[in-house]
Amino acid sequence: MYILINGSQKNHKSNSRYFLDYISKYLDDYTIYDLKYDFFDNIIDSIINTDTIVLAFPLYVDSPNSLTLKLLNYIYDNNIDLSNKSLYVIINCGFREGIHNITALNIIKNWATKVNIKYSGSILVGAGEIVGKEEYSYITSIAINKLKKFGRCIKDNKECNDIITTMDLLTNRIYCMFANHSWTKKGKINNLTKKDLKIK
């Protein structure tokens, strides 16, 4: 039995959830929980009764988002024993390069050591807002293929080296242009000009 936990705080479908849905295609017996909406006690019960946990969350301020921290703290503070269980991790960030997620992953590894769970591998996704959306699938195949590989690893219960994805198809400059154009467009929807967005 696999427990897949979406730690994202977003009030609509998050990228973390998209990645978990994708991974779930490889698994037979699984439950996906949204940390924000599902009953916290149910999630804890399921964690206690499973062999494998897949935890997905976004990078917020260079570290795990606060909702995910709540789960980590609860498990540690209540001495919940996670020995004999495996942990796989999916972290996604807004920047183009997946390496920005490494510190967050190290924080998770520290936690894993403290709660005795077996850390079994991760995928660190760069450009999460693009890779996590079907509409951009024409430029995300490299990252998605790595996600597939990660999914197969979980299915086989194998340990997996940490996988890092970067939006290589776009250079830094083009990625900035792409993202900046999209921010201006979002501002316009709210009747705000570029100058308004830059207010001091």
């Binding site: 921290l69 900046n180 967005l197």
Partner: protein
């Protein structure tokens, strides 16, 4: 002027050299979490969608020379409450990306650069310390801070660990 974000039950103003015109933000009262809506970038720039005492920290940061963060160490990260406050401060930078030192970062909203000084307390392992250093360093780069410091607090004793 300084902005101090902390999760202590009692803040010793003398120990941290805090004066009357500094802004003190007690993170323990912050119950609203960022919902990733980006309103503070694209709807009401700088201002968080939640209307509470944490909705406009950007303005106090704008007027500060120093941001002081005092937090319990949690596995090499900030405490949940401090983290909740920090997540509601992203309006301090612009949504727009820029390239600094060959890497993508958010462009600064303000010309003035802030010093980032952090204090951590509680049990801290060597692995935690390594994470805290890389975390605060990354924060300082993303905030475009002029410098950062990581200090460890043991009772009233402050030990400098990392400075850049």
């Amino acid at each position: 002027m300084k902005t101090i974000i902390h999760d202590l039950e009692h803040l010793d103003k003398e120990l941290f050299n805090i004066s009357d015109n500094d802004v003190i933000i007690n993170a323990n009262g912050c119950s609203n979490s960022c919902i990733g809506c980006f309103s503070c970038w694209i709807k009401h720039p700088k201002v968080c969608i939640y209307k509470d005492e944490y909705s406009n920290i950007t303005d106090s940061l704008k007027n500060s020379d120093e941001l002081i963060i005092i937090s319990k160490n949690r596995f090499g990260c900030y405490s949940e409450s401090v983290k909740r406050v920090l997540e509601r401060c992203i309006g301090y930078v612009l949504p727009y990306f820029t390239i600094r030192d060959k890497h993508i970062h958010h462009a600064s909203r303000y010309d003035k650069k802030i010093n980032l000084i952090t204090y951590f307390y509680g049990d801290i392992t060597n692995q935690d310390l390594e994470c805290l250093d890389s975390l605060v360093k990354a924060n300082s780069i993303n905030l475009n801070a002029s410098s950062y410091e990581v200090k460890i607090l043991e009772g009233k004793v402050i030990n400098n660990v990392y400075t850049d």
